[in-house]
Symmetry: D2
Subunit: 346 residues, 4 copies
């Protein structure tokens, strides 16, 4: 941690800060420049609050030196984490595609979709049983019945299932039926829920909040990891910006940035990150080209009848084309052997 | 709902949309312009998903006509709602000030603060027992012990207490100790939690999410209202923007905008909306001048020792000055009789 | 400037950075922590590019210590700057109100408006002769004829005139007619134009760009000041965020933040910062309560006929009410003697 | 244009709006729903201001039906525009790569870079002679001398040159030396400059403003097209969001969105859209995979000595690798025959 004093900070103000650093068990390192005095704080700053120094007289600003996340970082674990979900591995050198409807609407709708996405080359099935909806008047999901339908589809088509869990008390039930638990974007900082999924033996798909920074996403992963569950996959699903032509803005930078910062696998969700079905395929290609380990895509046999997210759902035939295109790009990327660009060769 | 067809949409595409509108039990109203055909949908559109039309061939865009919220709207209830919290009324023509520390850190810290804010003129006490923290390594609150301390402070100083509830299973416990339940910004769209507080007989302080729109805030209020709890106070606490000099950007526009759109009381939180103690007082004045019904302010006897939010906490003497200033502005506003500016006199 | 090395940076990488700092004529100050080595750079960093260090092997991040602006800062000049515009002083302990139409549309429209705002208590007249419009098909202003009409209104009503200048070649002409030159939000980083207005002897009203940070606004002011023109007034006019209910988001935090960072006067533009006439008055009150030195407000005798910005223009009678309300608040603020909140009394 | 009346709008208010529509020469089309009355305005709405209706009593909201841009739209011209720049064609089924330093710093630096990028496979040369810099204390470019060096490099290496023009009066001079004129992000809404480049016979590279919407970018293109210059290439270069880990956020959605909305070619600038050299190559791949017609990339022989943008500049050997990777992806995309996804096959 580095404490930058104001221009003209008094000697006693500097001494007060130094004393405070020492009281907290850290070693101060003072550097007096032409216009500013700077005080370095030697020690593990993660246990220090920046704001406790910011309020001291004469202090202008406090800068952190370390990333606030630890177990999620590449420094803590250099090799890529591979997450295994009932026979499917994410982060293991193969592009994994998860597909299915936004919501489980009925047994026939889900089975029809599962069949179609399996045929088209998907490796896993998605579908919401408990739905977080902005409006209390919108369809809220089939609940337990939806979970049962998902489990049946898994048995029938051999596709591991990921579904969202909305509150801590539902974690045991959803874990019974699903192969992977999804934390939705709106719950990325629902810390009670992060703790709960950190305690179970189920892989977790953690979606980036639409208002969350890359660093906050990694801090939320840290909650799960530090609770004991190391099976976490991160998902870029678009952030909220001033642009309204699309539902969200795909932060494609985040994909290679996350691959540098963390050992956890990273997948992309082009359905939510665009909100428009006719942008899903080109953006899916972009995510794969940027280095994503997989994709999660909304597919519905009849989007015009979908109870949620119809506008961003692909018909099965368009999904099949998406799969062909991204797998072709993935093969090309493997052949041209995309090595990590290391700093020493900048 | 209005469906705008693409330029050059085929006659059969238009007919298909018309047919679909009728199938769903609504009346279509077709208007053929020079460059575009437009189809009005007559009926209560709140039960319709925009996206089910957006995917139909030939459709360019779908526009909602109605606000998606109902019970929270001024149309549903014209007169101001007054929320009563154990003897204190918000929205009743008096400026209400809630103050206290970010976190309950100890019995002595809380009692000292409660005493100070009472002396300075606060009407209610705030303090976090369960804390949502970005980092799993930060102080997470005293939990039940914190609730007990808050209850003791209420008895001693006669200040009703508001404190945050983080998950549905904690709602009964927190309701036992607190006079008002706070839904924090990160949980504004935690729908399971909104349902839970909608079922209890306790007033709710609903904070706007840092990247939530005014409309989404009202939709979250609608969850609580439609679950049966009409005692909701809204809080503007700053939104996330590109500006990094302050922790958040105070959306002061939201205060008069909300007063127009809804009958619910609206208060401001200048501590979170600035993140810097030396901006808190001027921004508190701005919120009151814009028409807020109250304020919630972080106060700590020794901000440099606070376990959370020290940088934005006021010392008691600065808080006392804030109270004097905002009460003086409030008196002036009452004297100049701020009438609502109505559209007919635009 | 502080250079933070990566965890595990090699000794030779550290030495390379040290050597580079010395080559550029600065003194390195090395501090080796538990996890990171940090290199302080002693000297006036304003002439250094952060990026030249960021690309060196082993470097993680580079942090600036100093504000990049100098002449605009409170450190450079502690006392408030007062800007005199043909008899009106901004920043001199009196609330100054500038009002008038968005565009000069005709002689009669401008004279009628000038008369009305003078009656209501305005101190200066605004009106656009050259209009920056998003669409090439919108009204682009009357040009020279508009300037002549503005000059006539000044003579008739004794109101100094501010009007926008759009390009460097128009600076001499506009300076001939106007008392103050406005740099619009879209031109805040039009550096050729900033240079041009920095060379003339006319006060400048510099509006914050809708995409610009507080620091960037001060850097743009620095362009004008360092070109020789010290008569600059800053204007907060709303920034672009994800909220679409209002045209822009009023960054009311920026008003007290700017008053701390700079000696230049700061005014607010509630018309552009809200975009809705019925929010203009409450937000104008908020700006004054936050410490603004003045306001600039759009007024039109018949907003429904305005050639631009009708939705945010006040009718004269509503403007008169705005003036009464903000002057009453200003008087109250003076009586309660708002002293600057200084850091030593945090 | 569609005018939505408030719930409970009076009959006389509705009639007043109808009358106003007729006075302006348009045909009103009234539709009375259960909760709202809606008035369609039949005619070319581009000449109407939304705000003139928004201020009428009883009006809640006004919605545009048509895109405000015309000549830039796919409706106006369905086939792709090909822009020819001194022998190089953009938009003609070949991936075009523009490369070079941020600034022309010296003759030897530019010639060395031009040689390197030519060898690596670039088709055009970029380099700034006039530099828009946030700080007046930063390097402002070599001016005319920079233009002369660029022209020499073109002659030596056969690479057409693109360089930025900062103000209308410089357009003739820069047009004399450069093959293509760049409008920088900060000048995207410098309408005087857009008019000026619209009058010359030189292709224009129009960069999206960092806080401009897709629609505003197209409106700025419309300024150039409607001034008579049809040779415009659009460039996505990242937008400003709350994420600070990267300099900007690459809006990769904008690439396929623009390809749908307009006939103009679209290229990507991964250097500015990331701000970090080690993210440039993966994001360049993403832009190409999303459908970009080309790229513009910053390359410097020694980024640690660059006078601007060092942190985002690639060394020549890394640029060569970028070219190999994006050309391989481009070949793959051609083979899998990416057909436009049309709405009728949604």
């Amino acid at each position: 941690m580095i404490i930058i004093m104001k221009a003209g900070a008094q000697e006693e103000e500097v001494n007060h800060v130094i004393q405070r650093v020492q009281e907290l068990g850290f070693t101060p390192h003072v550097s007096r420049g032409v216009e500013r005095t700077i005080i370095g704080v030697i020690g593990d700053e993660r246990s220090l609050a920046r704001s406790n120094f910011e309020v001291l007289p004469g202090v202008e600003r406090v800068v952190r030196v370390l990333h606030p996340f630890k177990m999620a970082s590449r420094e803590w674990k250099q090799e890529d984490t591979v997450v295994a979900i009932n026979g499917v591995s994410i982060g293991n050198g193969r592009l994994i595609i998860i597909a299915g409807p936004c919501s489980v609407e009925s047994r026939s709708q889900l089975l029809e979709t599962a069949h179609a996405v399996k045929e088209a080359g998907a490796h896993m099935l998605r579908g919401g049983a408990y739905k977080p909806r902005t409006s209390p008047y919108s369809f809220q999901g089939l609940g337990l019945k939806g979970l049962e339908i998902l489990a049946e589809a898994r048995e029938t088509y051999g596709l591991p299932v990921v579904t969202e869990v909305l509150s801590p008390d539902l974690v045991p039930l959803v874990s019974e039926y699903a192969d992977m638990l999804q934390i939705g974007a709106r719950n990325m900082q629902n810390f009670a829920l992060l703790h709960a999924v950190g305690k179970v033996n189920r892989p977790v798909l953690l979606k980036r909040g639409m208002m969350s920074t890359i660093q906050e996403l990694l801090m939320s992963a840290e909650y799960i990891l530090s609770s004991g569950n190391m099976q976490v996959v991160l998902c870029e699903r678009g952030i909220r910006t001033f642009e309204t032509y699309t539902r969200n803005t795909t932060d494609v930078n985040a994909i290679p940035a996350l691959k540098q910062l963390t050992h956890l696998p990273v997948i992309g969700d082009p359905s939510h990150s665009t909100g428009k079905w006719d942008l899903v395929t080109p953006v899916a290609r972009a995510m794969v080209a940027a280095g994503a380990d997989g994709l999660i895509v909304e597919v519905h046999p009849r989007p015009e009848e979908a109870l949620s997210d119809g506008a961003q759902s692909l018909r099965p035939e368009n999904f099949a084309r998406l799969v062909r295109e991204v797998q072709a790009l993935w093969e090309t990327l493997r052949h041209i052997a995309v090595e990590p660009v290391t700093a020493t060769t900048s």
